[in-house]
Amino acid sequence: MMFNKNLKNILLVVFATLILSACSTAKKSGNVDGDVYTGKETVEYLASGVPDRVFFATNKSSLTTAARETLRKQASYLRKNKNLNVTIEGHADERGTREYNLALGERRANAARDYLMTYGISGNRIAVISYGKEKPVNPAGTPLAWSQNRRSVTVKVN
């Protein structure tokens, strides 16, 4: 009996360690929530504290909470810099047909544009272009890479 209890405890410890280490490796390679990328290391900055990109779920163009937070930062930055115009580039991962992905990239970029407009940014200041799956940031064939490639990127044009 005693032996069994000890064994149980040991097993629990082993399991816990396994789970913890699994968590830490996931963090290291970048976070994915559902299949939406949430890591920061591929996010470049439109301005200090203003990330330039938001990430999407597979085949989706709806904005996540994190995406909306990023876009609100972009909107407040654009409100402060009234002469600045931007282009939003829409992208898709490589796991879809080329033509569908061109349309999907356009839909994602427009989702970001529409959100900026609800925060008072004039549509005239925001151009949209879709690259479909033609310009990945990460060429790897992994779920992580695909999540990093499903994105819209807000780029200054002047």
Partner: protein, 445 residues
Amino acid sequence: MKNILLIVILNIFLINKSFALIEIDITRGNLDPLPIAVSPLHVDVKSENYEEIKIKELGEDISKIIEDNFKATGLFNPLKKEAFVQKPDIAHLKPRFEDWRLIKAQALVTGKLLITEGKLKVEFRLWDLAAAKEMTALAFTTTPSNWRRVAHIISDKIYERLTGEEGYFDTRIIYVAESGPKEQRVKKLAIMDQDGFNTKYLTLGNELVLTPRFNPTNQMVTYMSYFRNMPRVYLLDIETGTQEVVGNFPGMTFAPRFSPDGKKIVMSFAKDGNSDIYTMDLDSRVVERITNHSSIDTSPSFSPDGKFIAFNSDRSGLQQIYVMRSDGSGVKRITFGDGIYGTPVWSPRGDLIAFTKMRRGRFYIGVMRTDGAGERLLTENYYQEAPSWSPNGRVLVFYRETKSGSKGEGFTAKLWSIDITGYNERRLKTETDASDPSWSSLLSK
């Protein structure tokens, strides 16, 4: 281009056609390829030299192209020349049938050629060895620089005579030539003969170009370009090199294809996050909206009679294939299988639709009937899409991307072909990496 070749029919024994002993069943695939002997063409001693042509080797070279074409069909088994017993000139005059039967050949191709006064004259004969008679004979006169096309036309004539179907050798493939790392891929329009020779690059690679498609009736091409960072559908005349943007749309136009008569372009137009299908008449420039739905409608393809358009849409949630009348009425979903469907392309025969299917992380090229029934998946891989039909509706060309490692290293994109029987998958020879192939119609009919 078509008129360059003056085709003189020497004699065709039409009566033989219905009684021919040689028959190839092309519905079965390559289970039992027909043994065929292609004798080198006899080069007439009176032949003159012509720039960039080694006249002495021309007979061998033409027969090699014919052999390679036949081998690529999977339907023929060209026999090794070492076993040939008769000299080309004598065989062409009158083969000793028993000698050729001895090496197990069932059909024999012979020919002769002559270059004189700047003209290439070629003559060939196809012999049925079991019946010991001539099946077809043709003679051509053309400019010597056309010698590769002569070999393809001879291949087409023999294929037609033996299978009862139109050939597809005197054709070209337009595609996107790719180079560089995946994050910064350089893409150019390129065109080549269907056997991979005579590659020409039509754009310089300064801007991204995608999805070139041939006009089914002539040598015009429609494609998508990011020229000046404006993703638009363009029209290109291959003969003159002139390019123009198609229509005046205030947003991205993409996924273009010609109508079967070549007079219209059907394409998608994306604006405000929604993609719908439009047509534009190339003469009148009249634009018509064909679909009006809040989903993504794209990859349209006309039926060969022009009455219907197949396309893919995610109106049901995920991408599926739909068919509608060409005015946009009567939209009907035709795919209900397990997976996502895209890139429907109507066969030139009208009986099948080729498509790309995605299921559980794998990509398939398949065919089904035009009502969605009888789905057959022909090939499976990590990533492949965009089938295009050979003009006789027997073979599909598509592209496949592969990686040697999970970090994306060893990335390649190549053109492949497969028979609609599911047999005879082959990689097409291209100078560079390649994607988005489109097969032309026969250059000479």
